[in-house]
Each structure stands twice: as structure tokens, then as C-alpha cells.
């Protein structure tokens, strides 16, 4: 007597679920628009919580509201000293900035003259497993998709990918697999920087191209922004190419504010 083997219900569940996932991914481009509404709603609903959390964490300690008067006076004096120090540095900075501008003009680069919007970083890599920033500037502030995001003045770190009413999402150029056209050094050698994640980039060039550690890497285009400086160069004797590694000059984990360059 032959007994028909009963089909395992466990295997069936796996098949259905995986088939359902595959169907979802295949149909997603057609129904992508359906997710925009819920996404905007969720972002709008949660962003006040992010702002509140950002404000609370700025104090560095939950008990900062209970510090003694003496500690506040000491902190006040320390901040005054620091302001004086920064005012002295600012004068030097003005001189260096003018010289920088003159040198860029000689190299054929221009400085961005458009408007900038200051935004605080609500969510950053580390908190989420993506190289993405969520900032508190959105449509109401004039932010548009494709705008560059810079940190500490002129260090471009990413590009706006999605804009909501009061918040925006920016993808870091250093996110894994992200390809950014760049130029290196004073000879403006064109290349592509591939993001490795964590603020790191990699450039592959033929061995014959002369690159030195410390050469400036900037975005290509009429308005150039600094992406970083050459950190290390790897050349293997049998390899026809050299690998150039660099990282963004700012620590995205410590930066509290960024600027969005309005188009």
C-alpha cells in the first residue's frame, strides 16, 4: 500500500511568506505612491518626539536641571573665556578665508553664493543602520530634493533625497556603494569616489596617476565643495591600479548642525 506523503505545513508557510515578499518587491514600483502618504504622516507624527529628544540630549545629562549655582557660575566663566579665545581665532580665520578664496579663484573654482538653511540633525547613523541623516528643515524652509548638505562650513556630506513638511532625509555620500563624481588635487583629476560607509571613501585610479597624501578631494561641477583629503594610498606591485582611501573631515556623530544649500 502506498501512502501519500503529507505535505509539511511548515514548509508551506515558508513558501507562502517568501512568495508574498517576492510579490511585494515586484509590485512595489507600481504601488510606491501608496506609501508616500503613510510615510509623510509617520514622519510628521514622530518628528516632534525627535526634536524633544534632541533638545533633552543637548544638556548631556537628565539631571542637568538640578546643578548647583556654583557649577553654573564656573561654567559661565569658562564659556566667557572660550568666547574670547574664539574671537581671536575668528580674526585669523578671516585672513585665511580671504586667502582661500583667492586660491580657489586661481584654480577656477567658485564659492557657493546661494542661501543656506541651518538645520539640526535629528537622527544620525548609529541610531539607525543606514548612512542617512534626518534633519529638521523641510519644504517650509525651502529645502528641495537634490540639495547638498554641508557640515562645518564647506564640507559636503550628503544630498537631500526626500523632503517632508518640516523635516528632510539626506543620504550621506559615504554610504556603502554610493558613487560620487569628484576631482582630486590641484590638477583636477576626475574620478569617482565610492562610499564604504562610516564616513569612508575609496577611489580607484591607474598607478601612473600621481596622487599624494593630503591632496584635496572635491565634488566635480561648477560649484565645488570639499569632500575630504587623501588619507592613504595603496599600491600593490602586481596591480595596475592604486586604491586611495579618505574619510570625511568631520565626525558626523559629533556634529549637531548642518546647512542645506538651497537650489
Amino acid at each position: 500500500m502506498n501512502y501519500r506523503q503529507s505535505r509539511s505545513p511548515i514548509r508551506s508557510k515558508w513558501v507562502y511568506v517568501l512568495a508574498g515578499l517576492l510579490l511585494f518587491f515586484l509590485l512595489y514600483p507600481s504601488v510606491q505612491g501608496l506609501f508616500e502618504g503613510p510615510k509623510s504622516f509617520l514622519i510628521g507624527a514622530v518628528s516632534p518626539l525627535w526634536r524633544a529628544q534632541d533638545g533633552a540630549l543637548r544638556n548631556n545629562s537628565p539631571i542637568s536641571y538640578f546643578v548647583s549655582k556654583k557649577e553654573l557660575l564656573d561654567e559661565n566663566q569658562e564659556l566667557k573665556n572660550r568666547i574670547e579665545e574664539l574671537e581671536n581665532l575668528e580674526a585669523l580665520n578671516v585672513l585665511l578665508s580671504d586667502e582661500n578664496e583667492r586660491l580657489k579663484t586661481l584654480l577656477g573654482r567658485s564659492e557657493f553664493r546661494g542661501e543656506r538653511v541651518l538645520a539640526s540633525i535629528l537622527i544620525r547613523p548609529g541610531r539607525i543602520p543606514f548612512d542617512v541623516l534626518l534633519i529638521d528643515a523641510g519644504k517650509q524652509d525651502g529645502v528641495t530634493k537634490g540639495s547638498f548638505v554641508v557640515a562645518q562650513g564647506s564640507n559636503v556630506v550628503g544630498e537631500i533625497t526626500e523632503v517632508f513638511e518640516t523635516t528632510s532625509r539626506a543620504r550621506l555620500f559615504s554610504s556603502g556603494g554610493e558613487v560620487t563624481p569628484i576631482v582630486i588635487g590641484s590638477e583636477n583629476i576626475s574620478a569617482e569616489a565610492v562610499g564604504l560607509g562610516g564616513g569612508n571613501y575609496e577611489i580607484t585610479l591607474p598607478r601612473e596617476v600621481i596622487i599624494e597624501e593630503g591632496d584635496i578631494i572635491s565634488t566635480s561641477g561648477i560649484e565645488a565643495f570639499v569632500l575630504g583629503v587623501v588619507g592613504s594610498i595603496e599600491k600593490k606591485p602586481a596591480d595596475a591600479f592604486q586604491k586611495i582611501l579618505f574619510k570625511i573631515p568631520v565626525n558626523i556623530q559629533e556634529v549637531k548642525f548642518v546647512e542645506v544649500l538651497l537650489r
Partner: protein, 94 residues
């Protein structure tokens, strides 16, 4: 038990808004072990991706890059649900 399950969903929803991703993952795994067929994990994965998801190349750029990268947490939560439900059948504790 239903009340506890609803409360756990809203607790995890709060974590999705405020906590680092690894904390959320830990609690979701705990909830998957504690509750039977905790499909709410899939909903939470979808919500997480809608809030934070960004296209990150998982496979070489091409046909499958777009389909797989924006819904990483949804994919992970479905996998966890299946694996943990399967594992529970073989654990004497259950």
C-alpha cells in the same frame, strides 16, 4: 494576554521612534519568543523602514538594488518571525 500584547506593540512603537536600532531588534526578538505568532513585528519593521529606510545597495546595482534595500527591517522582521516560530516548536520550554 491580549492587553499585554497590545501594550507591547505600543511600547515597541515608542522604541521605534526613540531608541537605537539594536535595542528595538532585541525587544522584537524577545516579543517574538514571548508571544505566539507575533505578526506585529512585521508591522513594526514596515513602520521602521518607512521612517528611516533609505536605499542602500544590498546587491550590486541593477535590477534588485531598489527592491531590496529600502525595506531592510521589514525583510529582517519577517525572517525573524519565521525562524523564531520554527525554533519554538523544537524548544522544550514551549
Amino acid at each position: 494576554m491580549i492587553g499585554l500584547r497590545i501594550a507591547s506593540f505600543f511600547f515597541l512603537l515608542g522604541l521605534v521612534a526613540l531608541a537605537p536600532w539594536w535595542v528595538i531588534l532585541l525587544f522584537i526578538v524577545a516579543a517574538l519568543f514571548f508571544f505566539k505568532n507575533y505578526y506585529e513585528a512585521v508591522v513594526l519593521g514596515l513602520i521602521y523602514d518607512l521612517l528611516y529606510g533609505a536605499p542602500v545597495p544590498v546587491i550590486d546595482p541593477g535590477l534588485f538594488e531598489f527592491y531590496t534595500s529600502s525595506f531592510l527591517f521589514l525583510f529582517v522582521s519577517v525572517l525573524l518571525l519565521l525562524i523564531i516560530e520554527e525554533s519554538k516548536k523544537h524548544l522544550t520550554f514551549y
